[in-house]
């Protein structure tokens, strides 16, 4: 029982992070029908920025004064910088290819991914980078399972960010423009939606969320390196597909489900196949229910 609760709590923590990254995949896919393979690297940049910015804030003395404030500033600053990276990436590597054959932007995305990995390796060094040891590891017990405050913080802020995104998409003018563009890009353009800026905003939002996820993972595991983006990106993409790609609530559900499944699979079945578990689940779900958990089956257009 304790093990079960513990695994579910761990799974929810990781799942919340997957969900945050998955949102970026799903939003971009919903609008551009592009698998943004470089999205995982934005998350990796975010994790590095978390360490860099928090290190800077510690040097300034802010961390000692108020740790929560320092963490919030770190998340926001990393988010803003990654948003700038995301927007630049779109402008440089994807926008010129919007009318190109379908595979061209995909290859371009892989190029960006390789570029960013090596860019971080060159500027930050190839070794693991350690998160400053200032996050308290204490927590409390629920049903015999240990919950740290950090886990609570990760779950809480993920939910808050997702709720914020949901409100943005449903309530604001830009959100409406995004939904319209996802439905029909050309028609939205004819109705006066500035499709280019909608796409930029999509990348900005997705990158912000990925950066937040990166900072939180860096705090959670305490270690980052330049290749963490690939696996996290793949799993987040799995989560997006699991929920039904292009579907924003689906990405959230998919992330949490994947996190729990993975953590239970690793805890009860085969720990050494932990990373394969996500993919096995993905393959099975897609074969049984190709549109994903919350997706709608779209009939083929002639």
């Amino acid at each position: 029982m304790e093990l079960l609760v513990q695994q579910i709590i761990n799974g929810l923590t990781v799942g919340a992070v997957y969900a945050l990254i998955a949102l970026g995949y799903t939003m971009v896919y919903g609008i551009l029908e592009l698998i943004n393979f470089a999205h995982g690297e934005i998350y990796m940049l975010g994790a590095y920025l978390g360490i860099i910015i928090l290190g800077f804030l510690t040097a300034v003395g802010l961390t000692a004064a108020s740790l929560p404030l320092a963490i919030v500033i770190t998340v926001v600053a990393a988010g803003v910088i990654c948003a700038a990276y995301g927007a630049t990436m779109e402008k440089v590597a994807y926008r010129p290819l919007r009318e190109a054959p379908r595979l061209a932007p995909l290859i371009s995305a892989m190029g960006v991914s390789i570029f960013l990995q090596n860019y971080v390796m060159l500027t930050q060094g190839p070794n693991d980078k350690v998160f400053p040891n200032i996050i308290p590891k204490n927590g409390f017990t629920v049903l015999g399972a240990e919950v740290t405050y950090l886990q609570l913080f990760i779950m809480g802020s993920s939910v808050a960010l997702m709720a914020g995104l949901h409100l943005f998409i449903m309530k604001t003018k830009m959100g409406r423009a995004m939904r319209a563009t996802a439905l029909d890009k050309k028609m939205a353009g004819l109705m006066g939606v500035n499709v280019d800026s909608v796409i930029t905003v999509t990348f900005v939002l997705g990158s912000f969320l990925a950066a937040a996820a990166g900072v939180m993972v860096a705090m959670y595991y305490g270690l980052v390196n330049f290749y963490i983006g690939y696996l996290a990106g793949m799993k987040a993409f799995t989560a997006a597909v699991l929920g039904g790609i292009g579907n924003v609530p689906g990405a959230m559900v998919g992330g949490l489900v994947l996190g729990i499944l993975e953590s239970l699979g690793a805890g009860y079945l085969w720990p050494e196949y932990k990373d394969a578990f996500a993919f096995i689940v993905l393959v099975l779900i897609l074969i049984v229910r190709p549109q994903g958990l919350l997706g709608v089956r779209v009939p083929d257009k002639v």
């Binding site: 054959p101 061209a104 960006v112 390789i114 570029f115 074969i287």
Partner: protein, 389 residues
């Protein structure tokens, strides 16, 4: 990014923007250097454009069009025969003057060409995006590695088994996955590739786990032991020629045309009586078999296999060979394989910068030639109504 009408101010703003992006990851001096470098190169491009606009542009464009036409012409028309003969002679005498390193590169390029041609059947011809292609390559490589070391099976006896097993894997993956469309298919194959690698990594008793299998024997026949690298080079050369011949014949056949029909419009193809399911499965199987073939040769050449060689990046690079060179065109795929395998090798002097440049080059090539280096303009006639619809 701020867009400003004045090109000079715009250039300055762009370079400042990139400098700011880099700042958190390095220091002020380095960011300023990069900023300045970007500004200088942007101004250089602007200057070059101005020069080209004054007349040279049309000539240059014609030249680039000629380059892309030449290769397809070489492959198709009689005019190419002297050039092809020269190429054949060059390839045959290559081991005489090449050093070990060059020979090794050439052999490995050949293996990549076979792989890329195999993937081209699936991605370029049939239009199915597969991201886990390396799994089939791994099946072929491990099959021979296991048979050759643990059971002492001769290469030539193991080769059909490797190809057959890879084909079976192709069908096993293809049958359920082909019900999915586009990106879903891509992601399922990606998952399959990852599962294969993780299984190879963990099934210690069979695959040796992360340590892999070493001491894989070189192929031999009764007369020739292909033990030296130059012998192996000829073997791979023969394999490449055979593969190109096979793929070319397939492309021109009824099956090849059906594949193109599926790629261009699956529903229309089905309505015209093309058995899309069987043909997609066939494409999958043939692609997988070629990968298995390449895999067996790879493990014989290296004498060593490990899961590390079959990671996702490898799948990506093979896919890039197909797309970058020009999807669907055999010459394009061959050029793509050569460029993508030899480019990082040529950049070896730049050491740690080479993968950075490699990534940037992938983006640049795609942005300027989305149809690939030797890509042909889209075949077939598009209804002009489509633009207004």
């Amino acid at each position: 990014m701020t867009m400003h009408k004045n090109p000079i101010i715009r250039t300055v703003l762009i370079s400042l923007w990139f400098g700011l992006l880099i700042l958190p990851f390095s220091d002020v001096a380095f960011s300023a250097e990069v900023s300045a470098a970007i500004a200088v190169s942007l101004f250089a491009v602007m200057g070059l454009r101005a020069v080209m606009r004054s007349g040279a542009a049309s000539g240059l464009r014609a030249a680039s069009a000629r380059i892309s036409d030449t290769a397809s012409m070489l492959a198709n028309s009689r005019k190419g025969i002297p050039a092809l003969t020269a190429l054949a002679i060059f390839l045959c005498v290559f081991p005489v003057f090449a050093d070990r390193y060059a020979l090794d590169l050439a052999t490995q390029s050949g293996i990549y060409i076979v792989l890329a041609l195999g993937l081209n059947i699936v991605v370029g011809q049939t239009g199915l995006l597969v991201l886990g292609y390396v799994a089939f390559y791994a099946v072929g490589a491990y099959t021979y590695a296991i048979l050759g070391t643990a059971h002492g099976v001769n290469f030539w006896a193991a080769l059909p088994i490797a190809v057959f097993l890879a084909g079976i894997f192709g069908i096993m993956l293809g049958a359920p996955a082909l019900r999915l469309r586009g990106d879903y298919l891509a992601i399922v194959t990606l998952g399959f590739g990852e599962i294969t690698r993780i299984v190879l990594n963990n099934w210690d008793s069979l695959t040796g786990g992360p340590n892999g299998i070493s001491g894989v024997p070189r192929p031999s026949t009764g007369f020739v032991a292909f033990s030296s690298l130059s012998h192996f080079y000829y073997l791979v050369l023969a394999l490449v020629v055979l593969t190109i011949f096979l793929v070319k014949r397939l492309n021109d056949s009824r099956i090849g045309r059906a594949w193109i029909a599926i790629r261009e419009d699956e529903i229309a193809a089905e309505a015209m009586g093309v058995n899309t399911m069987m043909l997609k499965l066939l494409a999958f199987m043939l692609g997988a078999m070629l990968a298995g073939l390449a895999g067996a040769f790879y493990s014989a050449k290296m004498g060593f296999v490990s899961p590390e060689s079959f990671n996702f990046l490898e799948s990506v690079i093979i896919l890039c060979m197909v797309v970058l060179g020009g999807m669907g065109s055999i010459a394009g795929v061959v050029v793509g394989a050569l460029v993508l395998y030899l480019l990082p090798e040529a950049l070896r002097d730049l050491q740690q910068y080479r993968m950075l440049i490699f990534g940037a080059a992938m983006v640049t090539i795609m942005v300027f030639r989305p149809q690939g280096i030797l890509g042909t303009r889209r075949r077939g006639i598009e209804l002009s109504l489509k633009e207004t619809a």
